[in-house]
Amino acid sequence: MAKVVAVTGNEAVAEALRQVNPDVSSAYPITPATDIMQRFTSFVSNGKVKTEMILVESEHSAMSGCIGASAAGGRVMTATSSQGLALMWEELFIASGTRLPIVMALVNRALSAPLNIHGDHSDGMGARDCGWIQLWSENAQEAYDNTIQAFRIAEHLDIRLPAMVCLDGFIISHSIERIEYMEDDKVQNFVGEFKNLNPLLDLDHPVSYGPLILPDYYMEYRRAHAEVMSKVPNIVLDVASEFEKISGRKYGLFEAYRLEDAEIGIVILNSAAGTTKDVIDLFREKGIKAGLLKPRLYRPFPYEEIGNALKHLKAVCVLDRADAFGGSYGPLFIDIAASLYPHKNGPVLFNKIYGLGGRDYLPEHAELVLNELAEVAKTGKVKTIKEYIAVRE
């Protein structure tokens, strides 16, 4: 029987990792992800997992150790946040370019300067083009479920790419929620035995990892990486449908909430989607046809599917919990705009930047945006395409 518990997001991720029981983990503490590895190392110290830990001296070495361990041949995971992910930056590309199926929990946190330990999406957005798969999670249940599914997706023999599971720092990582844990054997059967592909430790078939590749072939390798990224969405859907059978919980590439007959819509990632859905219900009660789209698979971004899901709306506001400085709009907005580009009569779009460095996102903010959307839907005119909300000007 599944067990209903009241736990934090970090606790839920740590529990998923215990159940998956990887061969090696290489990690370095950073707020707010620290708690995941603290909990996990207590499983190691108490013999609850077979995992060998490498307690490294930096995040750069954490990911370097993961790369070495994964290339050696086995299941590998880690967790980080913010500056830690930034310090890993070089290694993120090497992990994906080497096609190593490492799974990492990214507890989203603002980037310095100024130093701030609270939740926003600057870290994950900064790493959106590094060739990793990104699954984003609204709450502790989704973080738990995504962690388990991430191993299956990353290790799929048609994919073999690293995957990060994103959850909001403090808002989810440190808040207690009701969630359902699956039985250990169910999780283990679902994830299955790790399948090796050219392991470095195979002495009978010595391989060289990490060659120098010059202009004669480098581009073909990058092309192959792009090609394999394009296969990810279908695998994500297959894994989700298998997961539904054992958990009863349904996942897709994104969540569409009251979107089918909607005229106005909000696109938003992670925890703020929960607050927004409540406010959308209130607007629906008033007879306003509002809906929401919450991307789950953010990289690779399912442009076609998301474009089709939004094209019938009159107005859409994209809420970004990160800014892309110098790029005019927030990163999520840019992707949504690109997904609607083929649809000539698509919705009018505008962009709000919210919640940076842990600034609260409140129901009244969603209300403000929905009122503006209703107005824009009526007039077809946007006053300001992008603005910061809940900020001192």
Partner: protein, 313 residues
């Protein structure tokens, strides 16, 4: 497993694990060092390599000169990468998925070891991974075109500390990395030179027989950076040893032992003179530099002799 007797005749019968046909420069010391290290090892080896000359010249897709499993990750993290490999090995061995005993060796140049890779190396040694880290020290960032490193000797002319009319080359002494690694209280740290092959091979054998983290610093002449003749690699490394610029010693469980004492300690200029990178030191106005360099070499040699209970009369 039968061990190969320590004679050149017997060692030469062993299969070379770094093939010929790699693209290192003619006269480079690094492949000689690697071949000697691999000849010394018995049983399966898995190697990691920091970005550098050795790495870019031995594995250019779709070719590899390595007959053993080999991994290159980046510049600063050969030790952390090999930590991952070694840890996966321990995990799989514990689970009964691997039965063979494997030795792990990391290779890095002085840039990837003394400088950018120092943190990763220090961390791996402190954590106690069962690996031998080999630094092939050619005294500069040779791969990117002879830039100064913290291993660059005092006075040397490099492309980032060029000997000019105001600044006469590198104005600092080298970092003493071998001692710093020994200060990690690892079971074995040593210095070797390809000119003294028997000493080198013995040290590698000893290192690999010890469980835990080991470090060896091996002098590796680079004719491009040293501005020397392509056939002088061994002569120059011998002069490095005989002038005590590059003393041969080991520190095993904290006990220092000088493993080679030249019958007659040669003046440092014998090592410097054949190298174009020190040419400017022989100008009359730079005489003070030769003196200062000689003093630093003398001081280290005396302190080593003292530490090994081997003081000269």
């Amino acid at each position: 497993m039968a061990t190969t007797p320590l004679t050149l005749k017997e060692l030469s019968k062993k299969e070379g694990l770094l093939t010929s046909g790699h693209r290192m420069c003619a006269g480079c010391g690094a492949p000689i060092v690697v071949k000697m290290v691999l000849l010394a090892a018995e049983g399966p080896i898995v190697a990691a390599n920091a970005t550098g000359c050795l790495e870019v010249s031995t594995c250019i897709s779709d070719y590899t000169a390595w007959k053993i499993p080999w991994i290159h990750n980046a510049f600063e993290n050969a030790a952390a990468t090999l930590s991952g490999v070694e840890t996966m090995y321990r995990s799989l061995k514990k689970q009964g998925k691997i039965s063979k005993d494997i030795k792990f060796i990391a290779f890095g140049g002085d840039g990837g070891t003394y400088d950018i890779g120092f943190q990763s190396l220090s961390g791996a040694m402190e954590r106690g991974h069962d690996m031998l880290y080999i630094c092939y020290d050619n005294g500069a960032y040779m791969n990117t075109g002879i830039q100064r490193s913290s291993a660059t000797p005092f006075g040397a002319d490099t492309t980032t500390c060029p000997a000019g009319s105001v600044i006469p080359g590198k104005t600092q002494q080298r970092k003493n990395l071998t001692k710093i690694m020994a200060a990690h209280d690892i079971p074995y740290a040593a210095q070797a030179s390809p000119s003294h092959w028997m000493d080198l091979v013995k040290k590698v054998k000893k290192a690999l027989s010890i469980e835990g983290p080991k470090f060896m610093n091996i002098l590796s002449p680079c004719n491009r950076g040293w501005r020397s003749r392509t056939d002088d690699a061994i002569t120059l490394s011998r002069l490095g040893v005989e002038t005590c610029y590059w003393p041969l010693y080991e520190i095993e469980n904290g006990v220092t032992k000088v493993t080679f004492k030249p019958k007659e300690k040669k003046p440092l200029v014998d090592f410097l003179k054949p190298q174009g990178r020190f040419k400017h030191l022989f100008a009359p106005e730079n005489e003070w530099m030769l003196k200062k360099f000689q003093e630093a070499v003398d001081k280290e040699w005396e302190s080593l002799l003292k530490a090994s209970g081997n003081e000269q009369p």
